[in-house]
């Protein structure tokens, strides 16, 4: 039986990066202690556990911190390697999973931010690039149920968490993601049928309120 204190997660409920780690832990059935962080007033624990980036999420296992959500997900997969594999075992398939998760990391947050943080022409450009990125991902998904094939896995985990921010981005940007990317939406809904995903993704309207508040605090109109 696992001691709850062995696994601790420092996180923010609205963080799409933190959600990735929560989904991975849920997929593996790992019990953990969740400690909500106030990102506007960072705790000593957070600064001690992630001195380099000072960000959430931070997974702490037996007192040792693992920072960066995708690194934490891989760590979870390697430690609890007796159940629900999140990454394929074939080196080439694994490299493709890492490549697409890296693509999500490089593009999706920043492009979404262009939509919610900018106005006018910049925002319009952001909307176009954001949709194009999602459409590229749709093309990569193809006819497969999940990015890894038949099973929900690493790329799905890296990406589906952004779905909880779509309502906020659509509302602020005044556009519909579903009308441009219906395949993406149906894939996201398929992921949501999984308990690990549906129990992790927060209410979209709550996220929208969070984002409006964040914009105020950051001084973004």
């Amino acid at each position: 039986m696992e001691n709850n204190n062995e696994v601790v997660l420092l996180d923010l409920w609205a963080s799409m990066f933190g959600m990735r780690v929560r989904i991975a832990l849920a997929e593996k059935g790992i019990k953990y202690e969740y400690i909500e962080q106030d990102i506007w007033n960072k705790s000593d624990l957070l600064l001690q556990m992630n001195p380099v980036q000072k960000k959430v999420p931070v997974l702490i296992h037996k007192g040792k911190p693992i920072c960066e959500s995708l690194i934490a997900v891989q760590y979870i997969d390697e430690v609890w390697n007796d159940r629900s594999p999140l990454l394929p075992s074939d080196p080439y398939a694994k490299s493709q999973a890492r490549f697409w998760a890296d693509y999500v990391d490089k593009k999706i947050y920043d492009l979404a931010k262009k939509v919610w943080a900018r106005k006018g022409e910049e925002q319009e450009a952001g909307k176009k690039e954001f949709i194009e990125a999602l459409q590229l991902l749709e093309a990569e998904l193809g006819d497969k149920p999940f990015f890894g094939g038949d099973k929900f896995g690493f790329v799905d985990i890296s990406l589906v968490t952004f779905y909880s921010w779509f309502y906020a981005v659509e509302t602020i940007g005044n556009f519909s993601i579903e009308s441009e990317c219906p395949k993406f939406i149906s894939w996201a809904k398929r992921c949501l049928q999984k308990e690990s995903v549906s129990s992790t993704l927060p209410n979209s309207e709550r996220v929208y309120e969070f984002l409006l508040d964040a914009k105020k605090r950051l001084g973004i109109e």
Partner: protein, 220 residues
């Protein structure tokens, strides 16, 4: 189909790019023979666009007809496809740490140093401060180890080729003192071990050519 064609390893790269060079170093450390093609990014080849349609960048590794892009993804692939001279330890926490430092190199440390070396007068002071802070973080991680990987070259060492080799050239061109023996004795010592390592030495591009290349870029 000829089995030697199937085993063929090909690298599409740019000789002056540290990202491309990482893959050269990795393949050489594993003793994997490969074909190298120099890519002209101003005039991208059909092969490059075919093998890396998403980013259209180098490096790209092609193995058994399959292509892999993004240097850190490629390095991990090479480590997993060839079992000799492992770049990563077996223990999951140490592996996570190595991956973290590779990512931190790319996300934070390399950009800070690059910015400092190419900064104009206005932004210089702040850029240099951030570069020095980044080098300190890296030195703190190295501690007293011979290499980031311990006694042997590991994933972080390969990823840190920019620090070990490119920085000395770029800082000279920029007239800056970033990585020096006075400021960062342990990291400097590592850089010397690194560039004198028999395999790494053979795999790095020639210093005078690299100097000339970046000096020419600085003039533009």
């Amino acid at each position: 189909m000829d089995s030697s064609d199937n085993e063929q390893v090909r690298l599409l790269g740019k000789w002056a790019s540290p990202f491309s060079n990482r893959v050269d170093l990795a393949l050489k450390l594993k003793g994997v023979p490969y074909k190298y093609s120099e890519e002209d990014l101003a005039n991208k080849s059909v092969d490059l666009l075919n093998y890396n349609p998403v980013h259209k960048k180098v490096p790209v590794l092609v193995h058994n007809g399959n292509s892999i892009a993004e240097s850190l993804v490629i390095l991990q692939y090479i480590d997993e496809a060839w079992n000799n001279h492992p770049f990563l330890p077996q223990e999951p926490y140490q592996r996570a740490l190595a991956r973290f430092w590779c990512k931190t190199l790319d996300d934070k440390i390399l950009p800070a140093i690059w910015n400092a070396c190419w900064s104009n007068e206005k932004g210089r002071e702040k850029a240099v401060e951030e570069a020095l802070e980044a080098l300190k973080i890296l030195q703190d991680e190295l501690k007293d180890k011979k290499f980031f990987g311990g006694e042997t070259i590991g994933l972080v060492d390969i990823a840190a080729n920019f620090i070990g080799y490119w920085v000395s050239i770029l800082q000279e061109i920029a007239g800056l003192e970033l990585l020096t023996i006075e400021k960062f004795p342990k990291l400097y010592k590592w850089s010397q071990e690194y560039i004198n390592h028999p395999v790494i030495k053979e795999g790095l591009p020639p210093r005078d050519e690299l100097f000339a290349f970046f000096k020419a870029s600085a003039k533009k």
